[in-house]
């Protein structure tokens, strides 16, 4: 019995990143480098209209200026060598037929890749409650349940397809929440973004299934720059989930995405992320730089946007999913679990911008640091002068495992209306020898004990995830921290 226990423990602690394989597939990739030619090439491959190309070029010019000024943000608590933006391949796509009529035409090698990742693109095999858009390197390779959703008037497709089929919607909303000039990485994305997901939920429609996008980086030497745009029209509701994985490589790969959400009157968007990009090895070599701009605008009265994120992957995470609470009585929520193990670094949090009256926001952040991991919460709560009766509640808890990791909290408060209520609570605790010993004394293995304690710590966030993914997230948390207490 003792031996079998030890064997189980050993196999658990030695478990490697499960999604680190590479798919051998012919890819159409352009040479590395960033210039007008590259942007025109990407835009041309997608047959984009002139206005979009112009928008990209404006972004490119701005980005080149920013590069010149060496304006990459340095305020975050993350350290990495300077990135050579001219050495990155900005477009790589598996070679396949241009227009796919149905899923049967998707390259079987790609289908196998997603099967291996636990994402079946065959509709009959899927949980019937989830529609998936699969983004492989620079392009969307398949979107499931499109026909079914169309019956409700819901548009769910790749960004490229939306540009072709719904240009009026894309043109109206693209850049309306995150302008091309917003920040260094968003500007880069605006110039070179290659694909992503698009969703539009019409007035009064409650989307009958979870929409999800699964992002996969496969090619070496590339970056992934996708753009997601979700519009919830008046009185509609949608729950959206994204997952991400990448192969294990010694190089660092850049993922600079932009997500824009728009909620009109009485609409609600629930956006969940399980981020499991390759985190690098135990010595901190390789891994994804996840520099992402995510922002939602609660444009209409009584609208609501809720961000839930479980961030376990990436060598470096730099992201602040935010809410602009314009509509009166609108609600913004941010629930986050961020794990940094080994040499991972995370600087993550949110911005809640209260503009409308009686707007309300909730921030629950749980940071877990192990190994040499560094974890920072950075959050801004701004109450504008007109935001009468605005309320915010923030809670930031940090859990440390071991003595070499770090947890930091940077809350920023700007209150310009005296009727506002703002509360902030923060705690830091160590996963104690006492807690672990107590669990083990009751017969639980060390791994199970850690998993239980960590999941308990994150419960307020995990319960916000859609059911199907809560279990996945719990398992992921356990895996990410294996071997971190010794």
């Amino acid at each position: 019995m003792a031996e079998s226990n030890d064997a189980t423990l050993e196999s658990l602690t030695q478990q490697e990143y499960k999604y680190g394989f590479v798919t051998d597939i012919a890819e159409d990739r352009i040479p590395p480098g960033l210039n007008e030619g590259v942007v025109r090439l990407i835009s041309g491959k997608k047959g984009e209209p002139e206005w979009l190309l112009e928008w990209r070029l404006k972004a490119l010019r701005r980005f080149l200026e920013l590069l010149e000024e060496q304006a990459a943000p340095t305020w975050a608590m993350v350290r990495y060598p300077q990135i050579d933006y001219q050495s990155i391949v900005y477009y790589a796509a598996p070679v396949q037929k241009q227009q796919l009529e149905n899923l049967d035409e998707v390259d079987p090698e790609l289908l196998r890749t997603y099967e291996k990742l636990g994402i079946s693109l065959a509709e009959q095999k899927r949980l019937s409650g989830v529609a998936v858009d699969a983004v492989f390197d620079s392009v969307s390779v398949a979107t499931t349940f499109k026909a079914e959703l169309e019956k409700e008037g819901i548009i769910f497709c790749s960004f490229s397809e939306a540009v072709q089929k719904h240009p009026e919607l894309v043109r109206k909303y693209l850049g309306s929440v995150v302008p091309y000039s917003d920040n260094f990485f968003a500007t880069l994305n605006s110039a070179v973004f290659s694909d992503g997901s698009f969703a539009y939920i019409p007035k009064g429609v409650r989307c009958p299934m979870e929409l999800s996008t699964y992002f996969r980086i496969n090619a070496a030497g590339t970056g992934q720059f996708e753009r997601t745009l979700i519009i919830a029209d008046k009185g509609s509701y949608v729950s959206y989930l994204e997952g991400c994985t990448a192969p294990m490589r010694d190089e660092n790969q850049l993922h600079a995405a932009v997500v824009e959400l728009v909620a009109l009157e009485d609409a609600e968007i629930k956006y969940s992320t399980i981020q499991n990009w390759y985190p690098g090895n135990k010595d901190g070599v390789g891994g994804i730089y996840n520099f992402v701009t995510k922002r939602g605008a609660c444009r209409g009265a009584r609208s609501k946007i809720s961000w839930t994120q479980v961030e376990t992957g990436s060598a470096i995470t730099w992201k602040y999913p935010s809410c602009i609470l314009q509509g009166d009585d609108s609600v913004g929520e941010f629930y986050s679990v961020a794990v940094t193990n080994n040499y991972q670094q995370a600087d993550t949090g949110t911005k809640m911008i209260h503009i409308g009256k009686n707007t309300k926001s909730t921030i629950i952040s749980k940071a877990i640091s192990a190994g040499h991991g560094q974890n920072s919460y950075r959050g801004l709560v701004r109450i504008q002068a007109g935001a009468k009766g605005a309320r915010n509640y923030s809670q930031c808890d940090s859990l440390l495992m071991g003595n070499r990791c770090g947890a930091h909290t940077f809350p920023y408060l700007e209150v310009k209306n005296a009727t506002a209520t703002v509360e902030h609570e923060a705690t830091t605790s160590k996963i104690g020898e006492d807690q672990l010993f107590y669990c083990r004394q009751r017969g639980l293995s060390e791994e199970d004990a850690i998993s239980m304690i960590v999941n308990g710590f994150c419960k307020q966030v995990l319960r916000e995830l859609p059911m199907e993914f809560a279990v996945e997230a719990q398992n992921l948390l356990g895996l990410s921290l294996e071997g971190s207490v010794g």
Binding site: M1, A2, N5, G432, E433, D434, Q435, F437, Y438, C439, R440, Q441, R442, G443, L444, S445, E446, D448, M452, I453, N455, G456, F457, C458, K459, Q460
Partner: protein
């Protein structure tokens, strides 16, 4: 069941146990008394395998096997239960979920089928009565916001569910008022049996009025200074621990 021979142990830089010999057979209840700092809790922790306590010399056999070779969880699964002096809070983990996981870890080890939620709840309700514990505490996070008495009841409740071979009760009476003490003691007494041994660690004699031990050992400066029957506890109550300071060491060398 338990054979401790010449046990030396240290926590941090301090030598705490300096040669303990103790033999406990199935069905017996042994009380360990002694002043603060005499090593009572260290002895409890060393038996349960707390990683921060290091055995420097001696031997501990549990049912014939070298106990020190086993991890804390392995010891627990083999039937060693420690009722903690300070039960630990685990925020966000429901008491029910935690205890069910513990029961199933032990059952699995014994080759018994794991209990599902319904069977577990039925069994739990039965044992809740034993310690007069409110069922509501099952749905709260482990020990979080529990009163001192509730925490101690929760320990004995777990003991009742886990059915250990050897139960070590570390200062279970501390922080309890007289009514709670009686309830907890009744619960413990109900768990006495011919196959189970108990080591009851206490500073005061009052717990032993309710849980009558077969043997009493008095610990002083890391050694058993004297041993006797239940009447020894009364004698201690009268004389205090002061007289132990001048009593000769029971056995073993003074050097660690």
């Amino acid at each position: 069941m338990l054979e401790i021979a010449n046990l030396h142990a240290r926590a941090g830089d301090a030598d705490i146990l300096k040669g303990i010999d103790l033999s406990v057979r199935a069905g017996e209840v042994h009380a360990i008394m002694g002043p603060n700092g005499s090593g009572k809790s260290t002895l409890a922790n060393v038996l349960a395998g707390r990683p921060s306590v290091e055995i420097t010399r001696g031997q501990v056999l549990f049912e014939g096997a070298d106990l020190t070779a086993f991890s804390p969880e392995e010891r627990a699964r083999r039937g060693i239960f420690l009722a903690f002096q300070y039960p630990v809070e685990i925020p966000g983990v429901s008491n029910m979920y935690f205890i069910k996981a513990a029961v199933n870890a032990v059952r699995k080890h014994r080759g018994e089928e794991e209990l599902d939620a319904i069977d577990f709840l039925a069994l739990a309700r039965e044992k809740l009565e034993l310690v007069e514990m409110d069922e509501k505490l099952m749905n709260r996070a482990v020990n979080e916001g529990f009163s001192g008495g509730e925490k101690k009841r929760n320990e004995i409740f777990q003991m009742a569910l886990l059915e250990p071979r050897l139960a070590i009760l570390d200062e279970t009476d501390s922080g309890l008022d007289i009514d709670a003490l009686r309830t907890v003691a009744d619960g413990i007494n109900a768990l006495r049996g011919p196959d189970r041994a108990m080591i009851v660690i206490t500073h005061y004699q009052r717990l032993l009025e309710h849980i009558v031990p077969d043997y009493v050992h008095v610990l002083s400066d890391g050694r058993i200074a004297t041993s006797g029957g239940k009447e020894l506890a009364l004698e201690l109550e009268r004389k205090g621990y002061g007289w132990l300071e001048v009593a000769p060491a029971a056995d073993g060398g003074a050097t660690g």
